[in-house]
């Protein structure tokens, strides 16, 4: 059902089936909450994230999006879900 | 994925008690049964307990009676679980109670301490038997009085009531609930085996005749509410589970929002308040029985079943022309010190209790500077006779060392 709906465009005509919609997301990191546990970096399926080279006031190097990988997030939100510190989330870009 | 079953929920009589099955009028009840009826009269609709002699009859009575009034009886796996289950019940707004004897009372200390710290109103009944340990399961003792005062670790102030008859067990159980609700604190009903098992006439008045007290409740909107911000009487108004306040209760030292703050600064605000909310509200709980004390020079201090022997001893002494009087702390803890000091003629105090010297320590602390304080007691197993008490009253004053 959900798949069928996703294939419909807003004006009702069918989207080409060989051109699936690719989700894109923008990653936000709340640096002050990050504890550099690496979960998001390690388990991101698109390897979008890395540990940055600066320190937060709490002494951790927060996660960040790799330069040049900004458009590669597929909005799977695994980083958001696995983050134990509510320090990272994804806003899905509207198609 | 299985569907959640729909269960037809009966109306929640625990939180909105109806009192459609009162057993009013003149009854012939044991102290244990009178205590159970007092709890029902007070609006108690949750009892969690574990069988133990000589308190079992309270559980048995409530197992029968609570379902009749829509209440909840549950027999837990031990007294630890019983004690904390009644706290879980109370945070929803239910009036809750457990009943036990010495060995179970020992197990309850952990979560009794939590109740003082989290400020959860509830009532704990200890029908005392001889100890230590398994001791004398079926015979009397008054040896848990210091445990009632100091049992859980840390500093706190206990309110302990001690009835001398089934009628008083009924009345004091209601009083215990009223005090617990009013001050958001656990209240201990320190009965003894003889009062628990003796059958006497108990008059249960119609519903409403004895006033009931409800706990102070949160009235401000959630964003203005602080779980542990005390009112002028030092008692914080209580928001119940499910009211939308996102309350935070903890046994850790905490700030006014219930956040853990494990520092000296937080401790020195919180712990003295827990003490002071009891000590500065004495009129809420203090009860005293005085008998022929106006002109008494020798005073018998006794509570529970021993107070009845003491009263007889006073009468026997008066027949012999002795100026005896009875000072009966019904609220044993905190001890009514000012009332004791106000009896100016007293030069000798006999403290009678079925132990080797517990409440006498407090009496000696209060009256030691101006009166001779003598203890008369036994290690448990039998009631102290009036003659034994009278003898102690008549024995010559000890020579000063």
């Amino acid at each position: 059902m959900a798949i069928a709906n996703s294939l419909q465009t807003s004006h009702g005509s069918r989207a080409p089936i060989d051109k699936p919609t690719r989700h894109h997301g923008t990653v936000h990191v709340i640096e002050l909450r990050c504890k550099e546990c690496n979960f998001c970096v390690q388990f991101c399926p698109e390897e979008v994230l890395e540990i940055s080279d600066h320190y937060t006031p709490r002494g951790y190097r927060p996660a960040r999006v790799k330069t040049g990988k900004e458009g590669d997030c597929i909005a799977c939100r695994f980083c958001e879900h696995v983050c134990p510190d509510y320090a990272i989330y994804v806003v899905e870009d509207s198609p | 994925m299985s569907e959640a079953r729909s269960v037809t929920e009966p109306p929640n009589l625990i939180l909105s008690p109806v009192w459609d099955r009162p057993r009013t009028g003149t009854q012939f009840l044991s102290g244990d049964h009178a205590c159970a009826e007092g709890a029902l009269y007070a609006g108690c609709r949750f009892f969690a307990g574990y069988p133990i002699t000589p308190a079992t009859e309270i559980a048995e009575r409530l197992a029968e009676r609570l379902p009749e009034v829509g209440g909840q009886y549950i027999q837990m796996e031990d007294e630890i679980a019983s004690m904390i289950a009644i706290l879980g019940a109370s945070v929803t707004g239910a009036k809750s109670m457990t009943a036990t004897s010495g060995p179970g009372f020992s197990l309850m200390m952990e979560n009794l301490g939590l109740a003082y710290m989290m400020e959860v109103p509830t009532v704990v009944v200890d029908v005392q038997r001889g100890g230590p340990s398994t001791g004398l399961p079926t015979t009397v003792g008054q040896q848990d009085m210091m445990q009632a005062r100091f049992g859980p670790h840390g500093d706190f102030t206990s309110i302990s009531l001690s009835p001398q008859s089934p009628q008083e067990a009924f009345n004091l159980t209601i009083h215990a609930f009223n005090v617990a609700e009013r001050l958001r604190t656990p209240v201990l009903l320190m009965m003894d085996e003889v009062v628990g098992h003796m059958h006497e006439r108990v008059v249960i008045p119609p519903p409403g005749e004895i006033p009931l007290v409800a706990r102070p409740r949160a009235t401000v909107p959630p964003e203005e509410y602080h779980t542990y911000r005390p009112g002028p009487d030092l008692v914080p108004p209580m928001a119940l589970a499910g009211e939308g306040y996102s309350v935070l209760f903890t046994g850790l030292t905490h700030d006014e929002d219930g956040r853990p703050v494990t520092t000296y600064a937080a401790q020195k605000v919180l712990v003295p308040r827990l003490r002071d909310k009891i000590l500065k509200n004495r009129d809420v709980y203090e009860r005293l029985g005085l008998y022929k004390t106006e002109d008494a020079t020798t005073l018998v201090v006794a509570y529970g079943i021993t107070a009845r022997s003491a009263r007889r001893a006073v009468d026997l002494g008066r027949e012999k022309g002795l100026a005896l009087g009875l000072f009966r702390p019904i609220s044993v803890w905190p001890f009514p010190a000012e009332q004791l000091r106000s009896l100016k003629n007293v030069t000798k105090i006999v403290v009678a209790e079925i132990n080797l010297g517990q409440v006498v320590l407090e009496v000696r602390r209060i009256a030691g500077p101006y009166a001779e304080v003598v203890h008369v007691g036994n290690p448990g197993g039998q009631v102290i006779s009036p003659e034994t008490i009278l003898e102690a009253c008549m024995s010559p004053r000890r020579a000063k060392p």
């Binding site: 936000h28 504890k35 550099e36 546990c37 690496n38 979960f39 390690q42 709490r58 695994f78 958001e80 696995v82 983050c83 134990p84 510190d85 509510y86 806003v91 | 299985s2 269960v7 929920e9 009966p10 929640n12 625990i14 939180l15 099955r21 609709r45 949750f46 969690a48 029968e64 009749e68 829509g70 909840q72 549950i74 837990m76 796996e77 630890i80 679980a81 904390i84 289950a85 706290l87 879980g88 019940a89 109370s90 945070v91 239910a94 809750s96 952990e110 979560n111 939590l114 989290m118 589970a241 499910g242 939308g244 996102s246 935070l248 209760f249 903890t250 046994g251 850790l252 956040r259 853990p260």
Partner: protein, 288 residues
């Protein structure tokens, strides 16, 4: 400003901030600890299942896991060590409309609180019990406990644990739980769906979550950091759902051996509450 404009989140606001006591973040949990992940999954479960905010109640005990109460914004009770389940029992019985979760660690629930667990399961009490199993006592610095694998090192088993651990799903099944699942924090998707599925159900439900404890268990047993412990799970996990009763004994956890995860038990059984409602009807009906 249009009425239907997409609500843009300011960069400092996580989608769960309104469901957290967010002023108290970051949490006290160590870097690489997975408890926060489990807490997030539970919050998701509440949201997804449509549990009204004021009906959510979390009861914690003592230990790292029980610190959930200070971060998840629900009615929260931080009780004594091992006593989450009987507290939750009293609470749920007196207000059955509440959705009560007992959330604690393996030492809390199965050492000092083990007796309460088996009896609540036996009664089929209407609570969801969540066990953060990190195989040791984290808060006190990594002592061995009832779930420490045989032979594993801890500060109190310096020569290797001579004891055998509990198999928690087996214990829960044997004592009467109606729903039993085990996930690791790496299975966060399945964990979230499990919570969404079970928070609204009746009966005694048990979810075990294997969680990294890098500073104690992971370090002592040379598993390594939190990420490395997650990779350890990734390498050893075997998914098995709805196992037969004879199979549940094969979910034991041994160091370096495969770890079976999944939904093991999902069955119907009358709850304590359902049975007690009939007691009330009988008592009220028989004496009018």
């Amino acid at each position: 400003m249009t009425a239907n404009a997409e609500v843009a989140l300011p960069p400092e606001l996580h989608p769960y901030d309104h469901l957290l006591r967010s002023a108290d973040l970051p949490t006290i949990w160590c870097p690489g600890c997975g408890i926060g992940t489990a807490v997030g999954a539970l919050i998701y479960g509440f949201e997804q299942a449509g549990v009204p905010k004021e009906k959510r109640v979390i009861v914690g005990g003592i230990g790292c896991s029980s610190r959930i109460v200070f971060y998840a914004k629900t009615d929260a009770y931080h009780t004594t060590h091992g006593r989450t389940i009987p507290f939750a029992t009293g609470l749920k019985l007196c207000n059955p409309s509440l959705n009560v979760v007992a959330f604690a660690g393996d030492g809390d629930l199965f050492a000092i609180g083990g007796n309460h667990f088996i009896h609540a399961a036996r009664r089929n009490m209407d609570i969801l019990v969540v066990c953060i199993n990190n195989f040791n006592y984290g808060m006190t610095g990594g002592q061995g406990g009832p779930t420490t694998p045989a032979g594993a090192l801890s500060t109190t088993t310096p020569y290797g644990n001579p004891e055998f651990p509990f198999n928690l799903p087996n214990l829960a099944w044997a004592t009467g739980a109606t729903y039993v699942a085990r996930w690791t924090t790496l299975d966060v998707r399945r964990l979230r769906n499990t919570f969404a599925d079970v928070v609204n159900r009746h009966g005694f439900r048990f979810v075990e979550i294997l969680t990294p404890c890098p500073v104690s268990f992971g370090k002592t047993n040379k598993i390594g950091s939190g990420v490395e412990e997650m990779e350890y799970y990734q390498a050893l996990e075997v998914l098995k759902s709805r196992v037969e009763s004879t199979e549940i004994t094969k979910t034991d956890i041994e160091l370096g051996k495969p770890i079976v995860v999944g939904t093991f038990v999902d069955r119907e059984r009358e709850t304590f509450r359902e049975r007690y409602v009939r007691v009330v009807a009988k008592a009220r009906g028989s004496k009018s």
